[in-house]
């Protein structure tokens, strides 16, 4: 069984949609509705992939990603999922170049695209 996947979004319906999609593929999902909760769960759990909203009520999504990137070995692959940014947004481009996030998914997304992203980021050895 794969390590669980963390879904971070302040919109419960958004968490519901992404969780349902991932769970339908047989993965475990943990959700967080704000940045502090996400950071706490990242520090105390082992996640393979994080689907992260860019704008959270208490902190910026990229700040959560930055903290996740300091977790060292076994750090998760982070996907920024946002309606605030766009595909060739310089902010997104810089975050990928810095290695803080792996990729970006614009809202609204197709379920197929989200799953494709998920599978591309899952460790191949498991």
């Amino acid at each position: 069984m794969n390590a669980p996947i963390l879904v971070v979004d302040d919109e419960p319906d958004m968490c519901w949609a992404i969780s349902h999609l991932i769970q339908s593929q047989g993965f475990n999902v943990v959700t967080a509705l704000n940045g502090a909760d996400a950071c706490f769960k990242l520090a105390n759990g082992d996640f393979s992939v994080v689907f992260l909203d860019a704008k959270l009520p208490d902190m910026d999504g990229l700040e959560v990603a930055r903290r996740a990137s300091t977790l060292g070995q076994g750090r998760p692959n982070v996907v920024l999922v946002s309606g605030y940014h766009y595909q060739d947004d310089p902010v997104v481009h810089d975050a990928i170049a810095e290695g803080i996030i792996c990729t970006f998914l614009a809202k609204p997304f197709t379920n197929e695209a989200l799953l494709k992203t998920l599978y591309s980021l899952l460790p191949t050895d498991r």
């Binding site: 958004m14 704008k55 208490d58 946002s82 309606g83 605030y84 379920n111 197929e112």
Partner: protein, 482 residues
Amino acid sequence: MSDNSLKKSFEVRYDMLLNAIPSSVLIIDRQLQVLSVNQNFLSKSLRSKESTVGRLLADVFPLVILQSTGIEESIRNVFNSGVAIKGQKMTYRAPGVPLRIYYYSILPVPNDQIMLIMEDVTEQVRLSEEVRRVERHLASVVESASDIVLSTDIDGRILTWNSAAEKQSGLTTQEVHGVFFYDLCDANQKPAVRMIFQRMKAGNEPHTTEFHLLTPSKGGSILISWVFSPMLDDYGKTVGTVVVGRDLAERRKLELQLRQSQKLTALGVMAGGIAHEIRNPLAVCSSSAQFLLEDNVSPEFHKECARKIQTNIQKASAIIENLLRFARSSLDTDMSELDLITVLNETIELVTNQAKVQKIQVQLSVQKPVILVTGVSGLLQQVFMNIFLNAINAMPQGGMLNITVNTIEDRVIVRVTDTGVGIPPGELEKIFDPFHTSSPVGQGTGLGLSICYSIIRQHLGSIQAESRLGQGATIVVTLPLL
């Protein structure tokens, strides 16, 4: 003393007396011969005593004067009737001397003589002409002004009404003379204008306001900005009112354009927050719809997806509706009774998205659930939108936006406080100036707060700023309560 010496001394005294009179005096007999003349006449006419006394009037006065005044005929008439002629006007010019103007009287004196007294009134005439000229100049200043200038008596009855007033109202001076000025105002503003006149009576303070002037011939009214000034007499007592008015149509048109362009700027600032807020429900709808397309969907999950789609479409639609309301509201400019708290809540709702994106908490504290004021809800919303967005822009690292509403006596005070970068001391007095901006070129027009200022003034309120650099800023808006 002998008779002779007595007579001599009498003649000396008579001469002294005559010469002391500051008017020209001539004694003339029935043959129009000059019997005696005083020094004043000699010096004014530049004549010697020898060339005057014993001569005929025709030799003493220039022909042109004798002809124009008919003075010889007048003298004969006085001799015949014994009735004096008084206060006639004569212009006399001795060679090499500027023109002088005299008033003269012809008085019968005993022993068949007459006395011609000529008084030099050149200076008085000049002064009165000067006064008339100044009066004419002042009148032409008032008449040439493109602003309405009128004066009223202490009760507000119109006394004068200039050309601009005639032109703009379509009412002639004759039509308005004696009419109460407030009877020319829009019906629902009449009591307020009548109050101004009562206040003028009591105090010496000028009063500035805006209201509509009726234009009966054109049907309708025009909005005018008015300044009422008390007219004081020499003792400082108010005896009337001077009213100056300027047509606001042009200025209003310009203000409307400015407000609209400022609004577009605000919409641009809000776009980021709105994009995020609308794309979230869209993403939920999109995923739910895709779930429904799958095979083997359980009836419960089918319902759940449909419900999510429904609620999220409503969410997106609500955001768009707020936006529409903000974009369109300025077309409505009629003042009406409204609840300030509702206006504030609706405006806060509009900026919530942007605040959320920047991690700013918005808090509204009110004393009462409903606070009624007179105003244009769309304009007031624009004012608060501006102030809120400025505050949000001042907090790029997040913070608190506090809005407190208090009523004191006949006013309501809205304080909008941020925890942002604050305003440097030198900038504080400039922030309401048009085109003053602290934003980089291209990011702010610098018109936002100056438009707020004009809108709040139109609502008879005031707007002020308090701040210390690094400690946030507070914008204080005061409005009169209904």
